[in-house]
Amino acid sequence: MTSVNAGAEYGVKETVRRFILRSINVADLNDDDDLFESGLVNSLFAVQLMTFIEKTFAIEVGMEDLDIENFKSLNAAAAFVVRKNGAG
């Protein structure tokens, strides 16, 4: 990973972290905590997170992006956004 990408990924990660901490009942979140296996999120959270990412980073999540590896943790979501922005 280049330092430019690492910087972008850090910014994305902190933005997503703030959204998740506003949305679910946890005090803090580690970068690799599994959001979906933790049992902390309700049935609406997956689409809320997806909508937040689409709106905030001006990307569109499509059928080809439906992979739990893209959304399962802060690290995964940040890498996905950076990759998607790079691709766009």
Binding site: N25, N42, K55, M63
Partner: protein, 383 residues
């Protein structure tokens, strides 16, 4: 609330209300009694572009915003809750395909859905899995060489299934949730009409049974494992927005019928509207109508702005209007007395239809569970 609408949105709302006054309200009682909406009425919805209202023009839709979709459902809900069922499920399936369909699926299915040449139904509910969609028992298995799927199971209470030409069916494939398009007429698919519902009587509900139904794997919508978490919620979001706004229209019906009756019906030397207790009922109804209008607009506007809060705003709008319309319909019957209990008064139908609003697209209790948890969690974070 009108001050929040653009001139174009207001003009379209007037067009929708004129359509309903001419083509829906005078006939809704007969449809209810016959438990069927005539085909030509759905054709009129299609010709007016109402069945593809929110699909982009590139697929033959109108490209209207979600505020306008809400106004359309509000206007239709004033005339016939059952008729809004067609609009609701068409939007649910169309918007799921727009979001999660492959380019081939969008090119194949969206144009006929946009024009209304094809009617769709959202086949999620099962007799053992209503609001608890994680408990689906309908099962997909792979066919030969994974080029096809074999579907077995059943669905119940599926709105518009008597009329639909294609079903978006939810089930499980190897323990992962999955959604798949199943055309009407596929061998092994049986559609059995459900009659004699309390309300929503002409919405064409049916039970579906799948016995070794073979579908091409190109009909999978989204990917296996994401139907419950990502595919269904997109459809349910539009289902809830449509239902909230349809319930708001029905609430307006209760209010308008009640004030009209209260203004002219005489008891001795007074009108019903001179009675303080009746004024109390009407005051609650009118205030609920105003509040519901703001909640529905708020939800639709959040969807147009693509805000993540749209899901909770929509839950609130649906929760509020569905409960408010049950109260309003009960009070509307009460104000008219015996006359309100007879089919010659529309409020008797409103009373039966209103209760359905608390059941479809997630029960009141599911909404309370989700919203209650959300509010409590917000308070915890503020400590």
């Amino acid at each position: 609330m009108r001050h929040l609408l653009t001139d174009q949105q207001m003009a379209r709302h007037k067009e929708f209300k004129d359509f309903v006054a001419l083509n829906v309200e005078p006939f809704a009682e007969a449809w209810d009694q016959e438990q069927k909406i005539p085909d030509h009425v759905v054709s009129m919805l299609a010709s007016a572009g109402y069945l593809g209202s929110s699909l982009p023009p590139e697929y033959g839709g109108q490209g209207w915003d979600i505020v306008t979709l809400g106004l359309l459902n509000e206007a239709m809900g004033r005339g016939s809750s059952s008729l809004t069922g067609v609009l609701t499920v068409q939007a649910m399936v169309s918007m799921v395909l727009l979001k999660w369909g492959t380019e081939d699926q969008k090119g194949t299915w969206l144009p006929p859905l946009a024009t209304g040449e094809l009617i769709a139904a959202f086949a999620l509910t099962e007799s053992g899995a209503g609001s608890a969609i994680q408990s689906l028992a309908t099962e997909f298995t792979w066919g030969p060489d994974r080029g096809s799927l074999i579907l077995n199971g059943s669905k119940k209470w599926i709105t518009c299934a008597q009329r639909a030409g294609v079903f978006l069916v939810f089930g499980k494939l190897e323990q992962r949730s999955m959604a798949c398009l199943v055309p009407k007429g596929t061998p092994g698919l049986e559609v059995e009409p459900i009659r004699d519902l309390m309300g929503f009587r002409s919405a064409g509900l049916a039970q579906l049974t799948f016995k070794n139904v073979e579908i091409p794997s190109t009909n999978i919508v989204g990917k296996p494992g994401f139907a419950v978490s990502h595919v269904a919620p997109v459809g349910l979001q539009y289902g809830r927005i449509s239902t909230a706004c349809s319930g708001l229209g029905l609430l307006r019906g209760c209010f308008e019928e009640s004030i009209a009756y209260a203004a002219v019906r005489k008891i001795a030397d007074k009108t019903v509207g001179d009675i303080g207790m009746v004024r109390s009922l009407i005051a609650r109804m009118g205030t609920d109508l105003e509040a519901g209008g703001y909640l529905c607009h708020n939800a639709c506007h959040a969807d147009d702005d693509h805000l993540p809060e749209v899901f909770e705003k929509t839950l609130m709008a649906k929760f509020f209007t569905s409960r408010a319309v049950v109260r309003a319909a009960s009070d509307a019957v009460q104000i008219q007395g015996a006359a309100g209990c007879h089919a010659s008064s529309p409020v008797s139908r409103y009373y039966r239809d209103a209760k359905i609003m608390e059941i479809i697209e997630g029960t009141t209790q599911i909404h309370e569970e989700l919203l209650g948890k959300m509010f409590v969690d917000q308070a915890r974070r503020l400590r």
